[in-house]
């Protein structure tokens, strides 16, 4: 049986299609919730780094260290540390949130540093207190750099979720273990294709979101090409 016939048979089953949708939905949840949590963590780290500079070196080292830890190792150690069961999807969510934050801490700090002093001084002069200045002025100005990091993190999260299938929580990753156990190409091929498509769609949505969040960047040059440093 050729691979196309195999795929047709596999996708022809209503049962399979229902499973695929469920896997896709789980995959989205497992990959995207950590983006949100990771951004919150990174913003917190940015705030900390701004208000208390001595902590910056530690933050950068910690971020590097977390990023270095292989995903499977982190997935299996987290339940031991926080006391969840190994099959809990929370483990994957926490691990991916940590990766996202680790990836974003450095660009976050750099982007906040790049906010022109005159801008923060003007905000202060207009009566902005530190917290409001941070969320109302500095953070929005850091969005373009942050967005580039978020795009990288989103794509890498979508790819990493699959590894969770090895501990029973994997969204589309379960198609790979399924295909491996049954020596069946179709689920693996479908799983790879769906993962790539999901990454593409999420990436496009993030580009749109960035445009919405940075209106001041649009009128000046409507067809502004993506700068080299931002290409993710």
């Amino acid at each position: 049986m050729s691979i196309t016939d195999e795929l047709a048979t596999y996708l022809g089953s209503a049962n399979t299609r229902a499973q695929l949708w469920a896997a896709l939905a789980e995959h989205c949840y497992l990959a995207l919730l950590p983006i949100l949590l990771g951004v919150v963590l990174a913003v917190g780290a940015g705030w900390l780094g701004r208000t208390w500079p001595p902590v910056r070196g530690t933050l950068a080292v910690a971020a590097n260290l977390v990023y270095t830890i292989p995903s499977l190792a982190l997935f299996v150690v987290i339940p031991g540390v926080i006391g969840t069961t190994i099959l809990d999807s929370v483990n994957v969510v926490i691990a991916l949130s940590l990766y996202t934050a680790a990836l974003l801490v450095r660009p976050m700090l750099d982007a906040l540093d790049a906010v022109p002093q005159a801008v923060t001084a003007s905000a202060t002069a207009m009566g902005y207190r530190p917290a409001r200045r941070f969320f109302g002025v500095e953070l929005p100005l850091a969005v373009p750099v942050l967005a580039a990091g978020v795009r990288v993190a989103a794509v890498s999260n979508i790819s990493l979720v699959s590894v969770g299938a090895l501990i029973g929580v994997g969204g589309l990753g379960r198609l790979f273990t399924d295909g491996f156990q049954r020596e069946y190409y179709a689920p693996i091929v479908v799983g790879v294709v769906l993962t790539l498509l999901l990454a593409l769609v999420v990436d496009l949505l993030l580009v749109l979101l960035r445009r919405v969040l940075t209106p001041w960047q649009r009128p000046a040059s409507p067809n502004r090409p993506v700068a080299a440093g931002e290409a993710a």
């Binding site: 790819s159 990753g173 790539l196």
Partner: protein, 228 residues
């Protein structure tokens, strides 16, 4: 959990023979080194060529982005079904994942060389190949190694995942421990895998610092002093 893991680590049976920690670490490093060597042979020439000529850059960057989205477990299981043998399948999968970061680093490194420097090299009479090897490559080397660092992290992580299709190395502790619900073994495997990744990354970071050409380091010192 800590006591059990310490007990596992203290058991001499886990430190000797083909399933012992030293043997597993060597196996793991072996897969990483083999896949890295093959990936370097493929990725560095292509990266240099694209960076030097500027042709095919869009294709290279696009391919790199697609591979970043590739699920490693999918790649490994797919190659296993295609090749039916654990080790070759895993190594091919590892190479596929290691090529793009190295290629991107090499390309970006050559690309980032100051055009004035390249002009100056032509001005003093250097030909294409001389310019590439004596000017562009030395200046690009730290960024090339940056790509290699990313690739090595990816390789250490994926080699552990590949234990699922029967590859040896440290991933065995993770897979075998999960299969028999021996959590101590799983944690020990995770700790060694993480430690290996950190150590290899630190070694490469050190190397990255030492290969910066003297001229470039002096130039950076001069600019940072000028700015201060």
């Amino acid at each position: 959990m800590i006591a059990e893991t310490l007990a596992w680590l203290g058991d001499p049976a886990n430190w000797s023979g083909p399933g012992g920690v030293p043997a597993r670490v060597l196996e793991h490093v072996g897969y990483v080194a083999l896949a890295l060597a093959i990936a370097l042979v493929i990725a560095v020439p292509v990266g240099l060529l694209v960076g030097h000529t500027g042709k095919g850059a869009v294709l290279l960057v696009g391919a790199g982005n697609i591979v970043r989205a590739l699920p490693t477990l999918g790649v490994v299981t797919l190659f296993f079904l295609l090749l039916a043998e654990s080790t070759p399948a895993a190594v091919v999968g590892l190479v596929v994942l290691a090529v793009p970061p190295i290629m991107a680093g090499t390309y970006a490194g050559v690309q980032a060389v100051d055009p004035h420097v390249v002009d100056a090299a032509s001005g003093v009479g250097m030909r294409g190949m001389q310019r590439l090897w004596q000017v562009e490559v030395p200046i690009a080397l730290p960024m090339v190694l940056g790509g290699v660092r990313n690739a090595v992290l990816q390789l250490v992580a994926t080699a552990a995942v590949a234990a699922y299709v029967g590859l040896g190395g440290l991933g065995r502790y993770l897979m075998d421990g999960l299969a028999i619900l021996d959590y101590a073994e799983v944690v020990a495997g995770a700790l060694f895998t993480a430690a290996l990744a950190v150590v290899l990354d630190l070694l490469l970071a050190g190397l990255q610092r030492t290969v910066v050409p003297r001229g470039v380091r002096l130039a950076e010192l001069a600019t940072s002093k000028g700015a201060a």
